[in-house]
Amino acid sequence: MTKRIWDEAVECLPLPQLVALCQSKLQESGVVARAARSPLYRERWATAGVVPDQVHDYDDLRQLPFTTGGDLRAAQAEQGLDALVCAEHPRLWVSTSGTTGSHKWIPMGDEDILAFTAAAVRMMFMGLENPEHWSLLWLSTPAPFVTELAGYMLLASQVLHEGGAELGFCSLPEVFDVLSFARLAQIEALQAMPSMAMVIAETVAQRAGKSAREQFRKERTLANLMRSVAATVLPIKASDIFKFRWGVFVGEPLDPYRSALKESFGLRPGTCYAASEFMACSACECRFQKGMHLPMDSCLPEIIPQEELNKEEVDTSYVPQAIPLWEASPGLLGEFVITTFASALPLVRYRTSDLITVVSTDPCECGRTQPRIKVRHRIDDIVNLGLVRFSAYQLKEKLERLGAHGQVARWQLRLTRENHKAKAVLLVQPRGRIADPGAFIEELEEKMDELRGVKQSWESGLIAKPEARLVDEVVEKRTMSGKIRYAIYEDVYFEEA
């Protein structure tokens, strides 16, 4: 019988036992004692009166203060890198994609890398229909970003864990060359960012007619004429050319792309949630696709409910209360907080800034009991358009320096969709009268194009072209603390198209 679950003994444990396992790993891994040596935690914990030796279970852990990406960034800037490494020696450093403009560098120790290879193979068992013999094209942005490493961990897992997979790798700029190989080698699955995969599908459709016509010009046979006519009349889809059956999509919300990917590639798209800071704890959708399973045997997940976040907004000294994910009700929305058992950079009560929804803590139809979540968007002012990410404050600075054709009184960036593509719409309420609205709009659109990667992304079709609109009034939205929220995600941004 085909093995469908990589580690059934763990992944299908009844929830109370899974919770017990999670807490025993918290203790056995010695993660708190290890973390206590790091300047990332040392002083803050000492101030809070934490005694690391006395942290045994979740009730003890929940007394510890939260840690944020900002804490990590500050510790990296102010401390020696060696001091931050809690493992005996760092094996590899990977970089985060640097959403706020500065990249965090994450050390990985040997145990982290081995845990990651095991996690990689487990995830593939979750996402693919035939996990024992499968083939996959791994499309990634090159080092120092973590997706490249993730692909090779998967390859290493095949060597280490006797897997039967067949893999191909491709860096983004080489994609069309490599895709023709994937077709010839009958590769069955594709791993990519959803927006990237859609660009591939659209380019294929555009090129198909052109290359059929060229072929006819070169060789004027009846067959080539028929092909050329067919390609002009009938829409050519990626699925006519590629035979991918499954897709694993990461890096941005999959839901808006799901039906477009199904339609154009004829594949079944699945998704994972991962971050450079905690790769070995990536959550992944199983074939039933009702939320992503969080591996509670490699991390301790919590959630800060939205109402607690609201209280914190109003009173910044308020310490929001988190609840363990296994006790959360379905539908609960809040910030994801993770404690990992990592060796080189353990994260203890790390606030991810990612807003998640709890889907269920009940056993899944696939047999797994690991709780399931969906990821919505970041709670800070990071604008995530897939490959392009920037802080709304970067745009704010640019808008404050306008002058040639007009000035901005109020503005707001609405994140929406044009079909499946992410689209940023800049609403501007001008200050005073604008003599030439067309020129002003053009200037505003130029400012958006100046943000790193924006112009290249819409030119290459990864996102829709951003648009600026002048409006009589921008209705400002404020956070509970009264801060203006510049980036507003519209519901359609997350919804299945």
């Binding site: 890198l81 020696h89 760092p90 094996r91 590899l92 450093w93 970089s95 640097g98 500065s102 990249h103 560098w105 040997d110 890398i113 081995l114 791994w138 990634s140 942005t141 090159p142 080092a143 120092p144 970003f145 490249e148 490493l149 692909g151 090779y152 961990m153 390859l155 290493a156 095949q158 060597v159 280490l160 864990h161 039967g164 997979a165 067949e166 893999l167 191909g168 790798f169 491709c170 860096s171 983004l172 700029p173 080489e174 060359d177 490599v178 190989f181 010839l184 080698a185 009958q186 790193r452 990667g453």
Partner: protein, 360 residues
């Protein structure tokens, strides 16, 4: 698995007498049934059939020398005309590719055992280039699907499981120079060894200066601990002097290709790259034979086994390898080399040495 089973590495293989190495290669050719296995690949099957080659047990190096050569053009042609799945002789765990040449690139399958062998050859890099415990390696990777894109990651596994030198890696790519601060991070982390293409190393000089906030600082002023460089992907010699001047490091040349990650490496004697005789049977087609072939394409050039070639001989390198997914049989690499010596080297290793001069 907590240790790799690098079965192809008898202890002390780097220092076996040359005659024993030649014999070991022959033994692996015969016992590994390389020719019979190769005969199942679309790369050889039809071509050999047309040439009247009988796919049978080859019992010696001299019998091997009777077989036709294989070329890059053969690989491209077969991959264009035959189903890709008929190309490997054993299930592929991964496919790597060469640089694209015009419209085509060659796709090369590697089985799991081939990957383990690749890792085994990586362990050998450590001795000739005198890597030390806790060296910090900056590896500038070319892009996937090239074999070299995988190299640092496979190296990490090799060291975790096998050599245990506690090597530390920072990996960067030229493609992401604008979108990542890896040159800045490298300055903070202070590598001891650089691994890159020679031209990438020189292109990086200005990026390191910029990262340091100066316009004209040389890497040797910015990297105090940088001791050695391992260079691959193109001949080192045209760049060697400039690299030494700007980086102040000892450069080691390394030869590898997607078809076979031979990982031939220069040692501290700097008198050519050691070609590992236990994982391949190398031959040279001398220049005069190449010239005769050019004048008369019907001429079948004669090749000399590398271990029997006189020092100074120049010509095209031909390799026969014992890979599982794709054994190369008398594969013309298209690389022009010069034999620098077949006597034992000053470093103590006995594998013959070549200098790679460039593409034919």
């Amino acid at each position: 698995m907590d240790k790799l089973n690098i079965a192809l590495q008898p202890p002390g293989v780097e220092q076996l007498p040359l005659a024993d190495l030649a014999q070991l290669g022959e033994q692996r050719l015969v016992e590994g049934k390389v020719i019979e296995r190769a005969g199942t690949s679309s790369l050889y099957a039809k071509r050999w059939n047309r040439a009247g080659v009988e796919v049978k047990a080859v019992l010696s190096r001299s019998e091997l020398a009777q077989l036709p050569f294989t070329s890059a053009a053969d690989v491209i042609e077969v991959q264009k005309r035959s189903p890709m799945r008929q190309f490997p002789c054993a299930p592929a765990a991964v496919w790597f590719a060469t640089d694209s040449q015009g419209e085509s690139r060659k796709w090369i399958p590697y089985s799991k055992q081939d990957l383990v062998q690749y890792m085994g050859l990586l362990t050998r890099l450590e001795r000739p280039t005198a890597l030390k415990e806790r060296d910090v390696i900056l590896f500038v990777v070319p892009m996937a699907p090239r074999t070299t894109n995988a190299m640092p990651y496979l190296w990490i596994f090799t060291d975790i499981l096998e050599t245990k030198l506690k090597l530390e890696f920072v990996i960067g790519s030229m493609f992401l120079l604008g979108a990542s601060n890896w040159p800045e991070f490298t300055l903070r982390r202070q590598p001891t060894v650089l691994v890159s293409r020679p031209s990438d190393a020189l292109a990086l000089v200005e990026h390191f200066a910029k990262a340091a906030g100066t316009s004209d600082a040389q890497p040797k002023e910015l990297f105090n601990r940088l001791r050695a460089g391992i260079f691959f992907g193109e001949p080192l010699s045209p760049f060697s002097q400039a690299i030494q001047e700007t980086y102040g490091l000892e450069p080691f040349d390394c030869y590898l290709s997607a078809e076979f990650p031979s990982l031939s490496a220069e040692c501290s004697a700097h008198d050519g790259l050691h070609v590992w005789m236990d994982v391949s049977i190398p031959e040279i087609i001398p220049n005069e034979e190449l010239a005769r072939e050019k004048a008369n394409p019907q001429h079948k050039p004669a090749a000399v086994f590398l271990d029997q070639a006189p020092a100074g001989l120049e010509g095209e390198l031909v390799l026969t390898t014992f890979g599982e997914a794709l054994p190369l049989v008398r594969y013309r690499t298209g690389d022009r080399v010069r034999v620098t010596g077949t006597e034992p080297c000053g470093c103590g290793m006995t594998h013959p040495r070549i200098a790679v001069q460039g593409r034919l």
